[in-house]
């Protein structure tokens, strides 16, 4: 069992936060968790947004000194640098996901354990892409059906996937 980050009692509360552009798991015992929760916005619609420490994480002060070559990367659309993102924890514009893609990928994977969207898609996304999403979504459903040992559902999903793939044999692997 993990120990509390602030004292040595067993940790019972686990939160993922973004600090300096890195996902960080925070493990706290019950007592320290109560103190911690006092400092984050409580009982509000946004309480799940990570509390971000401006100016960087004091714990990481030692490693702060070495310059990071990624830091000078700049988004051509909004002008934010990767360093600014690292210190503020918020991106500047939607294009940052393109401009900083390589740098963001490991962060996104450590937060979500996945790197490909499979959920809802806006209506304006063209037909071919929509079919690809349907396939991604069905594959995700198939994966969880198998994990949950729902084999009848899994068989049905597999048939649906095969049917869709037959309809669009050349696009199905394009993503």
């Amino acid at each position: 069992m993990k120990k509390c980050r602030r004292c040595t009692k067993p940790a019972t509360l686990h939160i993922t936060e973004i600090r300096n552009g890195e996902a960080q798991a925070l493990h706290l015992c019950e007592g320290c968790a109560k103190d911690y929760l006092k400092t984050v916005s409580v009982g509000s619609p946004n309480e799940e947004a990570p509390a971000f420490e401006a100016g960087g994480n004091p714990d990481a002060a030692g490693s702060e000194a070495e310059p990071d070559e990624r830091d000078t990367l700049t988004c051509p659309k909004c002008g934010i640098t990767f360093k600014q993102f690292r210190s503020q924890g918020r991106l500047g514009c939607p294009h940052d996901y393109v401009a900083f893609r390589e740098e963001l990928l490991p962060l996104i994977e450590s937060i979500h354990s996945e790197v490909q969207h499979v959920g809802k898609v806006p209506q304006r996304v063209p037909g071919i892409s929509r079919r690809q999403y349907d396939l991604l979504k069905l594959r995700a459903d198939l994966k969880s059906a198998v994990q949950n040992e729902k084999y009848e559902e899994a068989a049905r999903l597999r048939d649906q996937i095969q049917q869709l793939e037959a309809e669009a044999p050349h696009q199905s692997e394009a993503l």
Binding site: K34, P45, A49, K120, Q123
Partner: protein, 354 residues
């Protein structure tokens, strides 16, 4: 709806009659959406912020799926009115505290709120009493569809809906269920719940109110991962775990009653007695005692007070609500006196029959 009227009413989510509402207070889903062609709010100047606000407001007010909306210009509200909206869970603390052009539009019975220029351009929230995630999803997805017809949301084929913070990217969806777990807290069994939830990547967060034990034994269970799963899968993960926690809480409550009914009854009755008679009381103590009373009602140990009243008191005894009720600004010590007076008044009519 105006803000003064709000102080005398309460939202649908406090009515305390939804499914499993003895333990599940409320279900909530929120979606984060951004306009493709603008920088995210943290990086916009005042002029652009105002432009985004005007544009999105026009579309928000034009859709039918959200019902009749009441609009509040958050930027021009007094701090106490912003705080009131935070206490009612209609806006986030961040939305109350940032600067510049921003707003919230609130639907009938406070089940829907649309925040413009929070951390993302648009945050849609649907909040319902009891365990009602499917209803929340149906409502919120329809609102999202309607807006999607009108504006171009920032979206990438790889990362889904793009958000200011990468923790929200993908579905942009946070699903949460607020639970009242006094017996698990009392017996410290709650730690086992935390550990089990951590294993399936669900976050446990507080709560209500100011301060710590002001937590009032309320916990919010929510998804942490928003990318790589469908909305239905995310909802399913939360939906599957909640009945287990409910069953656990009920089991521990039954055990507590069985082991020492008298002691539990005494604790609950004393809590009720203090709330009915105190001359000065902090928010923290109020939350703690209300939590006891709430459990007491569910176990049949307290009579003469209804669940919606207790639910409402958790909100109405918070600082902004108290000050709005009194129509004056009060210091902390004055609030404690006003809070006690308000509690005495609300709880005096029906003496408990023991």
């Amino acid at each position: 709806m105006d803000l003064d009227a709000l102080t005398h009413t309460s939202g649908e989510w406090l009515r305390g009659s939804g499914p499993d509402s003895d333990i599940v207070i409320s279900s909530r889903i929120r979606l984060a959406r951004n306009l493709a062609e603008f920088p995210f709010p943290p990086r916009t100047d005042d002029a652009v912020r105002a432009e985004i606000e005007t544009l999105l407001r026009t579309h928000v007010q034009a859709i039918e799926s959200a019902g009749e909306l009441t609009y509040f210009n958050v930027n021009s509200l007094l701090p106490i009115d912003r705080q009131l909206l935070v206490e009612r869970q209609l806006i986030s603390r961040e939305h109350a505290e940032t600067h510049g052009s921003r707003s919230v539009s609130i639907g009938p019975r406070e089940t829907i709120s649309l925040m413009i220029n929070e951390e993302d351009h648009l945050r849609i929230q649907v909040l319902r009493s009891g365990l009602a995630l499917d209803d929340c999803w149906n409502d919120i997805s329809r609102i999202d569809d309607d807006l999607d017809q009108r504006v171009s949301f920032a979206f990438s084929e790889e990362f889904g809906y793009l958000t200011a913070c990468p923790t929200n990217v993908g579905t942009g969806m946070r699903v949460s269920v607020m639970l009242h777990l006094p017996a698990l807290v009392l017996t410290k069994e709650i730690q086992k719940v935390f550990q089990a939830l951590h294993k399936i990547n669900l976050a446990v967060r507080g709560l209500y109110g100011e301060g710590s034990q002001a937590m009032g034994d309320f916990y919010q269970i929510s998804n942490q991962q928003t990318l790589g799963k469908t909305e239905q899968q995310i909802i399913q993960t939360v939906k599957e775990v909640v009945p287990n926690i409910i069953a656990y809480e009920r089991r521990v409550r039954r055990a507590l009653v069985k082991e020492n009914r008298q002691r539990l009854h005494d604790q609950v009755a004393r809590a009720f007695g203090i709330l009915q008679n105190a001359q000065t009381i902090t928010s923290e103590e109020t939350m703690h005692l209300l939590s006891s009373v709430r459990m007491g009602i569910n176990l049949g140990l307290v009579a003469g007070i209804e669940m919606p009243t207790v639910n409402e008191l958790f909100i109405h005894t918070q600082p902004a609500h108290l000050q709005k009720l009194r129509h004056e600004t009060l210091e902390s010590s004055e609030r404690n006196v006003a809070r006690a007076a308000y509690l005495r008044q609300r709880l005096s009519k029906n003496e408990p029959q023991n």
